[in-house]
Symmetry: C2
Subunit: 453 residues, 2 copies
């Protein structure tokens, strides 16, 4: 008996209750649109990132990694167009001195609801819109007064373009090949929303895939599908995931095609990841601003060209939120409602919990032995506190796929029960087979039980 | 025939040549003391971080994880003392308008060497010293002119103290327990030095271990030893690693004891990690500034206290640099000098290279099959370009522990040779046993072959 009764309120509440994600700097009253990830949140996001890396670096030959600096040379952002164009239209209130995004006035708060007509707000006396750049500025170097103004990167992508030429040498790569990066970016958003969906500080997983110009369209199709499949493979239900091509009027001027992977959040369909066919816009800009030739030269054919670029750009926070929403479930066991995260085992923060049925008769000691053996290979948790049913619920709530119970029979025949989070089936397994069996299950293909409910 | 001829120049050169670490924003002339990590650098640092997490989260019960925001509430840095006291003494030159760290004048450059005596520089006319805060400032929120001034965190530690109280609830923990965090920190250093040893943007691996006050000294001893042992287990030679207690005049005013884990870099002994007995200074400060009670209350005994804190604070960049320096080796094979990184297999960016002896006779196809099987479990590389000896050298230089060669015999009996990076021994192994055998070797305890040379 499964319901799909997930709401954002339930997700936020679970995240706070179990220390997955919560408001940052709370003891000082918090800081807007900024969140900290707690213990299970770190384990979960580390798994999300590891799966992204694995799919690109470990399982393929044509993608290499980069970790470029957050503070790059400021010319980067002149060349990329961010200094001139990365801005929101803002209006000020002459009365209350607050500032709003003009295109989002209806969701802002300013005493009474402000009017869109300048000068006609109920409380607000609004100015005409001005452009407000979203990049955070700071000063680097020894002389504050005359030091260089630099920016916190608003995207990880540009660090990749700056290093493109290097990679032809180091990595002995030629197009088609990709450079992938995971890292923090910063945007001074005026309107933030929906928990970790849009935050001022956020972690991106971006790749720039460089291709011969004539192959751009086919690689664009390929990466749309490949990135869509990544979420499906990690358990997102297909009826909650779609590829939505941008309308012509949504496209950036340099893009010949962009599609969003969208997830059906409890609120609505929203963007998880954008896959853009960016042409050679960025390399052209950086070649011009750096006065360097960034062309690829094929030593065999003598052909030279600026590669075109396909960019799948995902967010760790959004992906994590989607995995949480898709996994969230409630069912009924013995007349009680249970909250359970039906996460893909590879994503689950904890793979197995080891629970002595009682806190005596040698059971804790055997449970400890099992923990010692398992933790060499995976993240496990030992819990001896409270009734066994309550301990199962604690694990269900954080998505632990298997709970291993040590009972009186264990002391006789060295077997334990392995309880499955989803089917609730309990199977007896010899302790000596346990680690291999759990690893086998971890590697097996997985299908969300919510698909069958 | 092994030599210990490592120099910083050789490390920097190898890092640049193979794209491990290199100057950031190079196409725009670079940006001071900022580096980008390339493909092998990302794989290596990801392994360093994974080992750190594993030793604290996976192998223990008493440490939990956190990932707090880089931009925290600005009161954080008033409470911690960073706004008032995190500064270097700087002097200005009235003639050339440049600024220097007073305590490092001898290594600064200002036309001619400046004199330490104000007014007496050969070219420089120096002012008295002023304090210059090392925190990067920026403005957050919708109103730039009246927005909040915030700081990029200069250390990850304070995010942990801010969340201490939460963790007593979420994580059902009571002292002694630790909260661990990996993340970027930023310091506007005037004097940067030695490649990635001191950079303006750097990644920390910090833990705050909260203990009952009476246990502080014993836990301090415990963590000094445990952190020292972590480096040794990962292959650092004991004669290149030492624990150095701070002299009383080096201690922070709140610390009753600090020891550095120091590594013998090619330049000299330098700090890798500090382990500090910080008392309850930070919790006291945050309790006072937030007006919240941060005491731990033992529900059984009714005892209440502010825990004392032991802080092991390591840097990803420094640890990586030490692992690289310690692993760097040159030896002679068949009359030629070979460069080899004798990295612990768990740290090696690539675990195995798969090399067909010739690019025909079905060898590439079998090699590809092997790659497909291995890459489900570990990072492997396929290379068919150039003479086999040259391909081995490329792998030696990035520290790949095992090179698997497919030859004519492979096509007959489905065996391959596995060449060991260090012993150069070649062993024939059945393809069907290969993945398990490599995993077994990866998990085995490891000892640097440089210890025996």
């Amino acid at each position: 008996m499964s319901t799909d009764a997930v709401t954002m309120e339930k997700i936020v509440s679970l995240c706070k209750r179990r220390g997955i994600v919560f408001q940052s700097s709370e003891i000082y009253g918090g800081i807007g649109a900024t969140y900290d990830y707690g213990h299970y949140g770190v384990l979960l996001t580390n798994n999300v990132k590891a799966q992204w890396w694995k799919s690109l670096l470990q399982e393929r030959d044509d993608v290499v990694a980069l970790d470029s600096a957050i503070i790059q040379h400021p010319k980067t952002w002149e060349a990329s167009g961010h200094v001139a164009g990365f801005s929101d239209p803002l209006v000020d209130c002459r009365t209350c001195k607050r500032r709003f995004r003009e295109d989002k006035l209806e969701i802002s708060e300013c005493g009474e609801q402000p009017s869109k007509i300048p000068g006609q707000g109920k409380n607000c006396d609004l100015t005409e819109a001005r452009q407000f750049n979203l990049m955070f500025k700071t000063t680097v170097g020894p002389v504050e007064e005359t030091g260089s103004t630099v920016f916190l990167r608003p995207e990880t992508a540009q660090g990749i373009f700056l290093n493109f030429k290097h990679y032809l040498q180091f990595a002995r790569k030629k197009p088609p090949f990709g450079i992938a990066q995971v890292g923090k970016s910063f945007r001074n958003e005026i309107t933030t929303e929906n928990f970790i969906f849009r935050t001022r500080e956020f972690e991106q997983m971006e790749m720039e895939f460089f291709v011969p110009p004539a192959q751009a369209d086919q690689w664009y199709e390929y990466w749309k599908q490949t990135r869509y499949d990544w979420y499906i493979k990690l358990g997102i239900r297909p009826d909650h995931l779609r590829l939505r091509p941008h309308d012509p009027d949504e496209l950036s001027h340099y893009s010949s095609g962009t599609s969003d992977v969208e997830y059906l959040f409890p609120t609505d369909w929203s963007e998880l990841e954008g896959i853009a066919n960016r042409g050679n816009f960025d390399l052209t800009q950086h070649a011009e601003h750096s006065k360097q030739n960034l062309e690829y030269v094929d030593t065999a054919s003598g052909e030279r060209y600026l590669p075109h670029v396909i960019e799948p750009a995902a967010g760790v926070g959004r992906a994590t939120l989607a995995f949480l929403c898709d996994a969230y479930d409630e069912d009924e066991i013995d007349g009680e409602t249970r909250t359970v995260l039906r996460l893909h085992p590879q994503l689950a923060p904890v793979k197995a919990a080891v629970l002595p049925l009682v806190k005596k008769d040698g059971q804790p000691e055997v449970a400890r032995e099992i923990v010692t053996e398992l933790r060499e290979r995976m993240q496990v948790e030992y819990d001896e506190g409270g009734a066994i049913g309550r301990r199962y619920r604690r694990q269900d709530e954080i998505g632990t796929p298997w709970s291993i119970t040590v009972d009186h029979q264990t002391l006789e025949d060295r077997t334990v029960t392995v309880r499955d989070r989803d089917s609730l089936a309990q199977e007896r397994i010899a302790i000596s087979d346990l680690a291999d069996e759990l690893e086998r299950r971890l590697r097996a293909p997985w299908r969300s039980p919510k698909l069958d409910s």
